[in-house]
Symmetry: C2
Subunit: 336 residues, 2 copies
Amino acid sequence: MPELRQDPATKQWVIIARERAKRPHDFIKLAGTPPLPEYKEDCPFCPGNESRTPPETLAYRKGGPPNGPGWWVRVVDNKFSALVPEGSISRREEDGLFRKMDGVGRHEVIIESPKHNQCIALMDTRQVEEILLAYRERYLALREDPRFKLIIIFKNHGRGAGTSLEHPHSQLVATPIVPLTIRHRFEKAASHFDDNGTCVYCDIIQEGLRVPTRLVQETDRFVTFHPFASRAPFETWILPKVHQSSFGWISMADAKEFAWVLQTTLLKLHKALNNPDFNYIIHTAPTKDEHEEYFHWHLQILPRLVTPAGFELGTGIFINTALPEETAAFMRNLPA
Amino acid sequence: MPELRQDPATKQWVIIARERAKRPHDFIKLAGTPPLPEYKEDCPFCPGNESRTPPETLAYRKGGPPNGPGWWVRVVDNKFSALVPEGSISRREEDGLFRKMDGVGRHEVIIESPKHNQCIALMDTRQVEEILLAYRERYLALREDPRFKLIIIFKNHGRGAGTSLEHPHSQLVATPIVPLTIRHRFEKAASHFDDNGTCVYCDIIQEGLRVPTRLVQETDRFVTFHPFASRAPFETWILPKVHQSSFGWISMADAKEFAWVLQTTLLKLHKALNNPDFNYIIHTAPTKDEHEEYFHWHLQILPRLVTPAGFELGTGIFINTALPEETAAFMRNLPA
C-alpha cells in the first residue's frame, strides 16, 4: 500500500506510491541527447563571444584583458536578469492590500567551461573544483551587500529542467527578501534544535550512516543519499559531515572533496539514467544566519523524470513512484 | 525594472520579470494538438470499457446497471491510486527520526464525458454543470469519513500538465493529513482575519472590482481575474463573491453559474493560447474548517507555459515573465 513519509527537516509529507512504484531502471531516459559541438559560433557563452554577454564579474584566466577569451570559468550578470542591482528595498503598498518592491538583487551566470559540449558529470575534476571556487567567491562578494538576504546557487540541466541555453552554466541569485519557503525550512530546523539541542541535518546524517539503506556514498567529509521523504525518483542530497550553516564558509580542502563527490554523483546519474534532465540547488543559510547551530548547508539534486501535476501544485505534497531505498541501492551497486 | 509582488493571501513573493516580459501573444502554443477521435477502442474511460476501470463510485446515467455504458459522467477509483481506503491513520516512527503512516485516503477519477475528444472548454455547458455536481456529490460523500482531512479536486490538461490519459477527466484526492502548504495558507488567512476582521479573499475580490485592472470577468455570483502576484503567465482565479469556505456547500444555482464561468474562462484560454496545457485546482477548506470566516474556496487555473527551474524549486519564488495587468486586459478584450 502507498505510504506517507515526512521529511524530518521541513515536515513536508510526500506520498511514496508503492502501488505504482516503478523499478529504478524504468526511469532511464529513452531518447538520447544528440551530441553537441565543442564550439558554437552563435553561442554567447562560447569563447570569442564575450562581448555578447554583460561584462564579467569574475573570471579565471591565465592573463590577458577581461571580457576576452582565455578563461576557464567566467561569471557574468544574466542578460535577462530576474533581479537587478539598482533600486530600493523598501516595500510599497498598492491599493491598501497589495505589497510590492523593486526587484533588487543580483542574477549571475557561472559559465562552467569554455567548451560548449561539457557537463559536470564528464569534466575533469579540477574544472569542477574551479566552478565551486567561483561559486564561493561570488557568494563571499555578494554577501557584503546588506540588501541581499539570501544567495542561492542552482543549476538547470536540460530543457525539462527549464534551461534554454545548452552551454554548461549554473546560476546565482541574491534576493532582497528571505523567501517564505526558506523561512519555513528555517523555522522547522530551529524548532528541532529547540526540542533536541541538535541540528536536524546532523541527525539525518548520523541516522543515514547508522542505517545506510538510503546511502549512496560516504567520503571523509561528505555523505550522499536519497532522502527518506524523496519528492521525486532519484532525488539526491549531498551534505558535509561537519556542521556548517553556510556554503560560503566551505574550506578549500572541503571544496576539493565536494567537487569530486558532486561529479561522481552526477556521473552516476548520467550513466544510470542516460543523461537525465535535472536541477541542483545549494541550500544555504540566509546571509544574516550564517552561523546558526540549527541549519546545515547541502546540495539537492532533483532529476526531472516526472511532471508535477495539479495535486502537487495544489497541496505541495509530491507523489513519488520510486522507493528511495531501491534507487539508492541501485546507485550504490552501479559499477564505478 | 523587475518587481517583487506579494500574494496578500499566502504572503508568498513572486518576481514579475518586466525586463524579460513577453507580450501576451508570445505565449500562444505553436505546435497544434492533433485532433482526437470521438471513441477509442483501447481507452479505459470510453463507453463499453467500463470493466477496465475499478467499479464506479458514482455515475449519472438514464438507467441500466452500474458499470455499463449509458452514463454521461462517471466516477471511479483511480486504478493507480496514490492513496487507498484501507489502513490506519496512526503515525509510526522509523529509526527515531523519521515519521511515516499508511497512505490512507481516496483517489478518484471523474470521467467528464463519454466522448474521448471532449474538453470542458468546448463542451455543452450543461455537461460542465454535471461535472461540477459530481465533484460536489463526491466531496459530500467523502467528507463523512473522519479520516479524511482535506479533499482536493484538480484537473491536469495536456502532457505538459502531467496527464497521461487524453480522455477528459479530473481527479479528487482525499488526504489523511492537512498538507503543510495548505496549513500555511490557512494560517496566513487567519492572521489576516485577526488583524482586519475580514476574509482576505473577500478583500481581494472587493479590491479587484474597485480597481479592475486584473479583472477578466464579473458575473452576478463570481469574479475571474489574474492575481496581483501571479506565479505564471495567465494564472487565473475564479472566486464566488459571497463568502463561503468550502466548495462542498456550493448551491445548485451557484454551481450552474460556476459551470458557465469556468467554461467561458477555459474557452477563452483555449482560443487565445491555442489549447494550452494547464492544471486547475479547487482550493477549499479542510473538512474540519468548513465554516471558517477567514477562508474562501476558489479555483486556480495554472497554464503550463513555462517550466519552473532550480530557482523556483529552491526558493518557492516563481519568476513570471508576463504582467498580470496585461494578460488580463488581453483576455478581457478577446472577442466573445
